[in-house]
Symmetry: C2
Subunit: 667 residues, 2 copies
């Protein structure tokens, strides 16, 4: 806030037509009486709040109120203005549109509409959808902020506190032991990646918003402050210098990824805030937009969250997330280890009622909105421990067996012994032998399932075709849940979606199972089952064969994560961790294509698929469920090519809703 | 050969207008005098060669010669005919086009043209290009064939002998110990893959030409006989039954992948045979075809071989194959392990003259034909040992260090000790320590470079941009070799090719280096350097951005192996080993897209890139250098979309030359 030495009248000051912190419609600003420029520069005098002027200079205050009202009704936007009062006369020195935080932008939008200053359309267009991000992550409590000890670039939003740790190994060790840590590095490199997983947030003293640290942190959804150049990290001495201040390893700091500020100690944070005004604004957006906004949610709890964010349905439910819950994983592993189809079916028979119950609950929560369930996608080895883990476990178990057998081995020398889960005395030789047998079977299976490039391996519909009993179980669970909901009078719109499709033959193969189960269930139930059958479009070949695929399905959903990987031949994990930051920094690529849809490459294929698909089937419902579905520029593209919906992670839903309206209004 | 009981005249027989084994223009056939059908069926009487008739029945023999000539000049094709002679009169019972082996087809084509029976075009069109495969692999010596003990499907061409081994583990063990083994299984599965690597050939008793065994063997270029149903494999007893015969594990057998026959013992094989007639025929093909045929060759020796096959240049020289030679690998590893750019440059400075010498030799061998050199493509970890190998080596070295330090450790219990390379007494503690340090550095680097999906990772031009000094070294070596050849008066056409490109910015980045080195060398040399700069089109994005890429380059080369992986989202190694055989068997996919170009998917992208690329640059030279470049159907497609050349492995060059002419003639 700058007070110019503008005239030597009785007062000079600055005002905001509304409160830029909250958006409240009130007189807001400060002034100094008899001020000289030097007074302000020297910081000798404290300015007074504008309200004070009402007592001190009531006449001029009334003029100021009138000025404020005139400014806003003229510009139809919150104004940041400067004034001076000379010899009792108010002069407006300058005015400009005011910069506000997200909460204030939202509130002023709604208020100004209600005051008939702006239209609903203007209320929406004046807010950059990306700004809402501020409202959707934990943030620092504004009432308890102190001065930052350093400031860098706001590289990944959110706020986090923890002990500052100067290398990834120690960060991992402490993080795994349950401590909250902030990884602090001059800059990060691919070999630091394990430290990212363990840390609450990342702070670097070098690098920009597309640096390794920034890109990887955003990918993981962790707060990051990058390029805080005031910090000098000395890994050898395990300390960092900020001017005169010394930060020792283990000292607690707090990062604010939304502003780039770094604070000492653990500051209180606030959960994401969803105000009434935001609800009103997004309600308008929904009425204006053509695109529907769905959420990617895998569990009933996540679905409830998504509803709070205003999701109009679930565009992607990844059934494998259901498999990973601790009560199911052992059955899934049993299914994978099965040597015969019968054993596999026995395990699947036990999984089926669990999945069915999941779906009943999910459909009920979302009733009457659509829920798109994707059949199993990841390769089976993802459900098993790694080879490395198993080798360690087996080694431990063997030592353990020797012990329970009473053999004399040099126990004291074995580091692994300390990790044994139980006191020796409690376990029998049989128990250990059985555990060993299981682990050895798992190891054999893990080796059998090993893949060179799992992203391009035995997954998706390829699994569904080589092991048809898996998809059959899932389809049955979905359809039986549909029947059950119908019986309970719950209106549901289930959609069955097949992943990784490359050819129409795969779809007809799966559809045969769907049709036969449907016939069977409809016969028992006595009524028609209402659901949709559709396909992910996430391989390039699916785009080139869209017309043929459309013959068999009622909807397409673009999986733009996988599609981007295929179009660029970039594995996301490897690219973001290795060369993508450098590509962005040097301008070879403008954006990270995993965050912002690549219109020149991926977009071309999407257009091809939309055109060919709709030529075959006019009423084909088409959406996108990749991560880019929550990004405003990508949403604009989706609107332009005529998609019906976007689906994104729950917290991005409000941004997507606003962006969808924005895209329509900017048509 | 069937002798019907056709009339009871004085003779009955069958003839081939030419020798179906060699193609020689001679009377060929057999006859029986006074034959009854039963005589033949019972096998009691041995038929006589047709020549014998000249003595026995000279008049009828003359009629037969006339008949033979009439048949051929009428049908203009070698005829397989049956005749009978009744009461001195020759009757032709039936005739049809004769089936011949590849050598005979080629010879008769050339002979019939020279005899003016057929045109050159007809001479070419009557031969299925794929048939030449028979002539381009080692094959059994036809003079020493015996009766097969079993027959299956000819699933992958070539001939091989070895001990029959019934499981992959033993096959691997013996194979690695230098024994020649044939892996014999009821059917193979992904977990047998290590046995494939170790075996000379694969024999299965179940499964078709698209079974796992067949697909994987073809991928590796190893002979395979699949589905030899007469063989019953008993892994427990380590033996196989063929009718009454018992084959014990370790017995030597011979496979003929071209015919599907299995023989006892080791039969002599002949190297691939390139006859004069084949040379003549392919010469005609070259004159007719629009497409040029290049070879994928990486070394001067391979280039010489390719010239023998008639390659018109090298369409793909993979420089990394040069890096793998034992005199270079240590320098390459040094380069990879370098901690600083200076250290990396020092290693590259040592590699440069070696690469330059390679190129001078390669260019000279191929002079004056074009040689397309692809800059480094694979990820750097491919040049290092695996993590597993290094862990074993480090463990061994640690034990060894303990020993040379004179510590008392339980040596006898350590299995790894037996693998130590030298007697203990010869090595110093310093030596071992140094080795340990190097291996530990390598392990650290290997872990740092680890990738989740290496196919989609830090490779190709991404390496060239993140480590510009690597591409600079290679470009310098190519250009200096060009200067050196020019100085020696050797006419060369070098082409520099950039792999894995996704955007025009990558190309301009590399081109800056090319331009600056060119200017510098031209200044010293005093003459213009003539070479081409081009790009692989092997990512999907390169296809969508072809117009922009064409601005910077003079040629495109489609890398259809990688492009197919990207279009299908199939990793070749994982797909062929896991689900592709099942996809082919069940008709979900007609072909293996890594062998036969997928026109509906990959082909669409190729067409898009050709159209857009040539719109930008009319004279753009375009070719294909994936494995499909040697497949006739794919070549036909390449011709149809207007490519300038195909490049394939040396032994496929003759097939490609014939197929290119074929495509032109069938336009």
């Amino acid at each position: 806030m700058v007070f110019g030495n503008k005239g030597n009248g009785c007062a000079t000051g600055v005002g905001f037509t509304r409160n830029p912190g909250t958006g409240e419609n009130e007189m807001f600003g400060e002034y100094l009486t008899n001020a000289q420029g030097e007074d302000v520069v020297a910081g000798i005098r404290t300015p007074k709040p504008l309200q004070k002027m009402q007592e001190e200079m009531p006449e001029q205050y009334a003029q100021l109120v009138a000025l404020r009202n005139t400014l806003e009704s003229h510009y139809r936007e919150v104004q940041d203005y400067e004034f001076t009062i000379e010899k009792g006369t108010l002069y407006c020195l300058q005015t400009r549109n005011g910069k506000m935080n997200a909460a204030a932008m939202v509130r002023t939008s709604v208020d100004m509409f209600e005051e008939k200053l702006i239209s609903r359309e203007q209320a929406i267009l004046r807010i950059d959808p990306e700004l809402l991000e501020q409202l959707l992550h934990p943030r620092l409590d504004p009432d308890s902020t102190t001065s930052p000890i350093a400031t860098g670039l706001p590289a990944s939003p959110g706020a986090a506190s923890g002990k500052c740790i100067f290398d990834a190994d120690l960060a991992e060790k402490l993080g795994n032991a349950g401590e909250k840590v902030i990884l602090v590095r001059e800059e990060t490199r691919p070999e630091d990646i394990h430290g990212f997983f363990a840390a609450e947030g990342i702070l670097t003293s070098r690098g920009g918003k597309t640096s390794h640290a920034a890109v990887v942190a955003r990918g993981m959804g962790k707060p990051c402050v990058a390029g805080a150049e005031g910090i000098v990290v000395d890994v050898c001495l395990r300390q960092a210098h900020i001017g005169e201040k010394v930060l020792h390893e283990g000292d607690v700091i707090t990062l604010d990824g939304a502003t780039g500020m770094v604070f000492e100690g653990a500051l209180p944070t606030l959960a994401a805030h969803f105000s009434d005004e935001l609800k009103v604004l997004l309600g308008w957006a929904d009425e204006i937009a053509d695109l529907k906004v769905m959420a990617n949610s895998d569990t009933p709890a996540a679905a409830e969250k998504a509803l709070e964010y205003g999701a109009m349905g679930i565009g992607l439910c990844r059934t494998e997330r259901m498999f990973n819950a601790s009560d199911r994983l052992p059955i899934v592993i049993e299914m994978i280890l099965a040597d015969t189809e019968d054993d596999r079916k026995a395990a699947l028979d036990r999984l089926m009622p669990i999945q069915r119950a999941d779906f009943i609950e999910l459909f009920s929560v979302m009733s009457p909105r659509p829920v798109t369930v994707r059949l199993l996608d990841p390769p089976m080895h993802e459900f098993l421990p790694t080879e490395h883990q198993l080798l360690e476990q087996i080694e431990t178990l063997r030592l353990y067996r020797d012990v329970v057998r009473g053999r004399q081995v040099a126990l004291a020398t074995s580091a692994t012994m300390t990790e044994l889960p139980h006191p020796f005395s409690e376990l029998s030789e049989e128990f250990v032998n059985e555990a060993l047998t299981t682990k050895e079977r798992m190891l054999k299976k893990v080796r059998e399932l090993q893949e060179v490039n799992p992203m391009l391996g035995h997954r998706g519909v390829r699994l569904g075709i080589t092991y048809p009993e898996i998809y059959e179980m899932q389809i049955r669970a979905i359809l039986e849940a549909t029947v059950e909901c119908a019986k309970q009078g719950i209106s549901v719109q289930p959609e069955i979606m097949v992943p990784q499709v490359i050819t129409a033959q795969e779809l007809s193969n799966v559809k045969r199972t769907v049709d036969s189960l449907t016939r069977q269930l409809e016969k028992d139930f006595g009524k028609k089952l209402r659901f949709k059958f559709g396909t992910m479009i996430e391989t390039v070949r699916a785009c080139t064969r869209a017309a043929q695929l459309a013959e068999n399905v009622e909807f397409f959903s673009f999986g733009t994560n996988d599609l981007t990987q295929a179009v660029f031949s970039f594995s996301r994990e490897d690219a973001e961790n290795k060369f993508l930051p450098m590509y962005n920094d040097s301008g070879i690529l403008q954006d990270n294509p995993f965050e912002v849809l690549d219109i020149q490459g991926v977009g071309q294929l999407i257009e091809m698929a939309v055109t060919n698909g709709r030529e075959q089937r006019k009423d084909l419902k088409i959406g996108i469920c990749g991560e880019q579905g929550g990004h405003p520029d990508s949403i604009r593209f989706c609107h332009q090519v005529g998609l019906n919906y976007v689906s994104c992670s729950g917290p991005r839903v409000p941004i997507a809703r606003l962006a969808a309206a924005n895209a329509k209004l900017r048509e």
